[in-house]
């Protein structure tokens, strides 16, 4: 049920090892008119990226390793620096996302365009996705 029937639906890849998060955000984004692909690990995500880049990716920070999300960000940005990526994390403080004011230099090498801290609310996610896709 998208607006403009002849317009291609934009694809979003969600990567998270948390089944419930995938289910929730997937349903919400589909209802918002996006085509959703899901991956449950860094490894599965790499396979999905090999089949083609999504219009936007939402990646969890910690999966197989503590920096899985950053690795995926890097892989996507290497192929298309303009492709938006949202980094999701369970706790802001658990990661590089909790920058002090002095850590601006460190922020530069985190390639994500936005970061969200769980629990992520449906409207919050849709708003962020629309902003990054300039809809």
């Amino acid at each position: 049920m998208t607006s403009g029937g002849n317009e291609r639906r934009r694809t979003i890849l969600i990567v998270d090892d948390d089944l419930d998060f995938l289910e929730q955000m997937g349903a919400v984004l589909e209802a918002a008119g996006f085509a959703v692909a899901a991956a449950r690990s860094e490894r599965e995500a790499v396979e999905a990226l090999d089949r083609g880049l999504p219009d936007l990716a939402i990646v969890d920070l910690m999966m197989e390793s503590a920096d899985s999300g950053l690795v995926l960000c890097y892989r996507i940005k290497k192929r298309d620096p303009a492709r938006p990526v949202i980094l999701v994390t369970a706790v802001a403080a658990e990661a590089v996302l909790d920058f002090g004011a002095a850590a601006a230099a460190e922020r530069a090498w985190v390639k994500a365009d936005a970061s969200l801290v769980k629990p992520v609310r449906a409207e919050q996610l849709v708003r962020e996705v629309r902003r990054l896709l300039k809809e």
Partner: protein, 381 residues
């Protein structure tokens, strides 16, 4: 390494102070029970005022306090030390070894008293007793601190384990309330199903936690009777059967009943239910489970084998800890509290045995529990 206890000698006679210092210079006390050797460092004060100053600057562990000090008397010093009472043990030195002085000193917080004149040997006996008391109190405090630490860690992990499913259910409820998934009714049904699965997980966690605390506190009433372990195994298999049938997993019982032992049936059920349900949960579809029960030299050995995902040696080594769950792509959708095997181990230990595992990734695992009849205190009829 020996512990050093500081002793402050408060006496106006220089000879008495020097004598005590000399007697304790090379004196050590061994406390083999707690594996501690104690030696002493002696400081001196010649008046009540100086005693209070020295205590304020650096409180000693033991205060040898003369009853009759010039200026502020020994008893007054004792009164003013009320604030330090729990940390400093005071031994009153008195020339008037009457019951009255002893009683009034003890009433004011002194730990013991020495009657003048005393021999170095008498001094050492009193010091040995006092040091023992101090070190034991220290050890008890340390132990209580460690226990608090362990409890704190357990609660932190537990909070996390409950927060995760709660957050998931909350997320589903918000989406359902706000109809954020649009008109996709199948999606809402899936969300309700997932919510129920997650709340069931929480219920299981709470149940396991109660089992564990009951076992650990030792307050649970244990009803010992002759229990047929083979029958307990048969019932555990029946309990696991619905899930096994769904996933085409065959379960076989290898036992020649009855195999009886004195036990609390409820406890054996917890052990068998955990092992058999794990063998199904972590199996592959179409796999099999074998439950063997056999008597062996006065003990009963239960072995539960599966044809499941198995695990590495490293994972097997940490498997029986509290809240340990082996996280791999194969286990990520299997719900569990992370307490089951830790409970099995605690129970096995209660039965003078233990639980062990042999495993090979992608081939399967065998969990073996050895159970011995507990020594039951005789009950008067």
């Amino acid at each position: 390494m020996p512990e050093t206890l500081r002793i402050l000698v408060a006496d106006d006679e220089p000879g008495m102070r020097a004598g005590i210092a000399r007697a304790l210079r090379d004196f050590t006390v061994s406390l083999p029970d707690v594996n501690v050797d104690v030696c002493f460092e002696v400081e001196q004060a010649e008046s009540g005022e100086q005693t209070l100053e020295k205590v304020a600057a650096r409180p000693p562990h033991i205060l040898l306090l003369d009853y009759k000090l010039p200026g502020i008397s020994g008893l007054e010093v004792l009164d003013r030390l009320q604030a330090h009472r729990s940390e400093i043990l005071t031994i009153m030195i008195t020339a008037y070894a009457s019951l009255d002085t002893a009683v009034s000193a003890i009433k004011r917080g002194a730990y013991d008293f020495l009657a003048k004149p005393f021999t170095p040997e008498e001094l050492k006996i009193t010091i040995r007793k006092t040091a023992g008391r101090l070190i034991l109190a220290q050890q008890a405090r340390k132990l209580a601190q460690e226990k608090r630490q362990v409890r704190f860690q357990l609660i932190s992990v537990l909070a996390h384990e409950l927060k995760a499913p709660l957050a998931a259910v909350e997320g589903y409820l918000r989406i359902i309330r706000d109809r954020s998934a649009g008109a996709d009714e199948a999606a809402y049904r899936r969300m309700l199903e997932r919510s129920l699965i997650r709340t069931e997980g929480m219920r299981k966690l709470i149940g396991d936690l109660l089992d564990m605390t009951r076992i650990e506190s030792g307050r649970k009433r244990r009803d010992f009777a002759d229990v047929d372990v083979a029958d307990v195994a048969r019932m555990a298999i029946e309990t696991a059967m619905p899930e096994a049938v769904l996933r085409h997993i065959a379960i076989a019982l290898d036992a020649e009943p009855p195999i009886t032992m004195k036990a609390d049936r409820g406890e054996l059920e917890i052990i068998l239910n955990n092992l058999v349900s794990n063998a199904v949960k972590y199996n592959r579809d179409g796999g099999s489970v074998r439950v063997a029960v056999r008597p062996e030299g006065g003990a009963v050995v239960v072995a539960v084998s599966d044809t499941g995902i198995g695990m590495t040696k490293d994972d097997a080594a940490r498997l029986f800890g509290e809240f340990v769950r082996i996280k791999t792509e194969k286990t990520r959708d299997i719900l569990g509290s992370g307490l089951g095997l830790s409970i099995v181990r605690k129970l096995a230990v209660l039965y003078g045995g233990d639980v062990s595992v042999t495993s090979e990734p992608d081939v399967g695992s065998t969990f073996t529990v050895v159970l011995r009849e507990p020594v039951i205190p005789a009950v008067t009829p």
